[in-house]
């Protein structure tokens, strides 16, 4: 009898848990919809295909960075170097394509490899040298910032010799098929990356260990998990994803701008946290991060389209970030 009782309550709980989880995501999504609706009413120019595409395009780089750093944040870490790493990856692509005159795939590989290697270094500093992630990646942020300037001699590298390079972010595969829906490739890349990372997190050993590290690293280690190794792998994977971000921004700007990148890390982390991932690790979703990045992009674009004075844009952005997370918090409290 107690068994059936348990079973029954079991299903209810599971269902309730699933419902509250789904609800939460739905409600985060609702914040997004609310913002879009608000701006659409406030300005006739907002809800237009071209502007929506501009928003998605604007979200793509930050979104990719945010998805990458989501992995690290779930392990309980943080990565402040993603902004300057993105730039460094773009620079290395420039070196390979423009200076080296190599074919496009090698340039793409250069960005990914650079990202993964730098991630590997950060990961090793964190996992092996036991340097707190904040400091390890703050150091990497400065090192990579300097390296980008050193490698380029402080001048942008342009991709004029590789005309197809701009297609990575700016072309539209979808638009070629469905002309009414000219989704830029950058957006496509964002969604593909997000889907892949969501799959990794949800279905693979790496994903499971990502959560385990964030939840209780010592317990994972004492279960025979090679925690250091997996952590390094996660940082490297995140670095590779940042490399994709580097490709996107370089493609959008048709150049590798060596001084770019500082400040992008905070924006990406903000997207992650708005998306409901906890900075203390152990929990988080890619879908949430995606919504977080979209909320930020919609906000920025909408305020601009409404011609709000720039200083007020900043204030309103600050308020909405707080309110969005507060809403999420309320829901959680209620769910608890």
């Amino acid at each position: 009898m107690s068994a059936t009782g348990t079973a029954q309550s079991g299903t209810t709980t599971a269902r309730a848990a699933r419902r509250s989880g789904a609800q939460r995501k739905l409600l985060a999504f609702a914040s997004l919809i609310l913002l879009v609706a608000g701006f659409s009413i406030a300005s006739p120019n907002f809800f237009q295909l071209s502007n929506i595409m501009a928003i998605l395009q604007a979200a793509s780089v930050n979104g990719v960075l945010a998805v990458g750093v989501t992995l690290i944040i779930i392990t309980g870490g943080i990565d402040l170097s993603i902004g300057t790493l993105m730039t460094f990856c773009a620079v290395m692509t420039g070196v390979v394509l423009t200076w080296g005159g190599m074919p496009l795939p090698l340039g793409i590989a250069a960005a990914l490899a650079t990202g993964a290697c730098c991630g590997l270094v950060s990961g090793t500093l964190v996992a092996k040298a036991k340097i707190p992630p904040f400091i390890a990646t703050l150091g990497m942020m400065l090192i990579l910032k300097g390296l980008s300037l050193i490698v380029t001699g402080t001048k942008p590298i342009y991709f004029n010799d590789t005309p197809s390079f701009t297609l990575i972010a700016q072309g539209s595969l979808i638009g070629a098929v469905v002309p009414a829906f000219p989704v830029p490739n950058g957006v496509l890349v964002l969604f593909v990356v997000a889907a892949a990372v969501a799959w990794i997190l949800g279905r693979t050993v790496l994903g499971r260990y990502t959560f385990a590290l964030g939840s209780n690293e010592e317990a994972a280690r004492l279960s025979g998990v090679n925690t250091d190794g997996w952590k390094i792998a996660i940082y490297a994977l995140a670095g590779g994803i940042v490399g994709i971000g580097g490709l996107l921004i370089a493609s959008r700007l048709n150049s590798a701008q060596p001084a770019l990148g500082l400040g992008y890390e905070l924006e990406a982390i903000a997207a992650v946290v708005i998306g409901g991932t906890s900075l203390s690790g152990g929990r988080g979703t890619v879908l949430g991060t995606l919504i977080g990045a979209l909320i930020m992009a919609v906000l920025t674009n909408g305020l601009r389209v409404m011609s709000v004075a720039p200083e007020w844009q900043t204030v309103v952005t600050g308020i909405i970030i707080i309110v969005a997370v507060y809403g999420d918090q309320l829901r959680r409290g209620a769910a608890r």
Partner: protein, 498 residues
Amino acid sequence: MSELVRLEGIDKHFPGVHALRAVGFDLRPGEVHALMGENGAGKSTLMKVLSGVYQPDGGRILIDGAEVSLPTPKAARDLGIGIIHQELALMRDLTAAQNIWIGREPRLSFGRIDEARLNAEAEAIFATMRLGIDPRAPVAGLSIALQQMVEIAKALSFRSRVLIMDEPTAALNDAEIAELFTIVRRLRAEGVGIIYISHKMDEIKRVADRVTVMRDGATVGTVEAADTPISRIISMMVGRELTEEKAAIPDLAAAPAALEVSHLSRGADLRDIGFTLRKGEILGFAGLMGAGRTELARAIFGAEPADTGEIRVHGRPVTIRTPRDAVRAGIGYLSEDRKQYGLALGLDVRANIAMASLPRYADRIGRIDEGALARVARDYIRTLGIRTPDDTREVRLLSGGNQQKVVIAKWLLRDCDILIFDEPTRGIDVGAKAEIYRLLNELAGLGKAIIVISSELPEVLRLAHRIAVMCEGRLTGILPGGASQEEIMELATEGMAA
């Protein structure tokens, strides 16, 4: 007789769990009222209601016959209700004295703390408990047992009229338990009402006046401790009769060695330890607190590798520098502190059970076969009787005993040849304890080699085929399973600077 506390019809729901169903309870001044029940029966939840941590969904709380509401822990404390929580609630970075007086620091002008008085008063409390804890020692550096003692000291410092003790002895050894009972009896004599929760059945007879038994969130009944046999209380708790007897000790002289440890040393913690564990054997480890049994286990397991020494598994020498090496060599280790070292509390039951065996349920690209995992997880939930709605519930929401079973399930799933269980029944109810004993015997019967570290001598005596005794980092002797308590204690204190 006047009543100190009366609880009527207390109801409490958690999402998906009806934790308390119209529970009634009463406490008189100057009595020790034991609250018993299986893991997850709702004991801690009831006590949290009484101490203002949780708000009940229904029911009344009466103190001295007057109905009260307890919106905060402070409100409860102001009414004279003190509690020692089951889960240690200490600030690890503060010192023992600072922990005891947190929130009530003796103050000087300008918000300054009278640190001298604070330490002196803490020292005085420790003295009455006959403990030599340095009040200035950071709690993080104390063993679990000493941390528990600090919690007890803190509760005593309130001079409460009602003192709730939620499994205070789970981490204590016999000497300390005796010390604690002296304190309990003294408080009882002073007219304090004490609610006492424990899974150690013998303690009922030693301190309790009355016993209330809970099952599945409801009260089964209240009886006088003096004229109720333990077996009766147990059957009230588990809803059936438990018959348990020691399994016969098999003759393992011819069995091949599974684990051979020789000349294992690490600093001053472990000194030249050597023993052999045979296939199918349960080797008990006894010793006083701090004897180094946990250190030994952690060294063998690679959690903190030894400096020197040799370990052989199935006759082959192995190098164990990390827990991964140990797991690969077929060794599993269930730690004594499940929260810190055993569980990812934020993850669900299934993920925790799978933690040590994940690669086995993944294909070449690392994709996990969740279906298969769910099946085995449910198997273990059933066979170990883990009380959880399903395998996707976060482990932190389970009761302590059920959490322990999840850790056991993790190592069972991993299917190690050598299992080291450090305090496997800490915080586990009698029914589950019996199941775990049965399980250990079964595993031994299947040819697994098992080490059981336990601070409860009866447990060691009941389970072990042989008993290794440690003292101050040395292995002072190995006794046959039928050894007497006196023999063990002699080895456990051998050579100690007395």
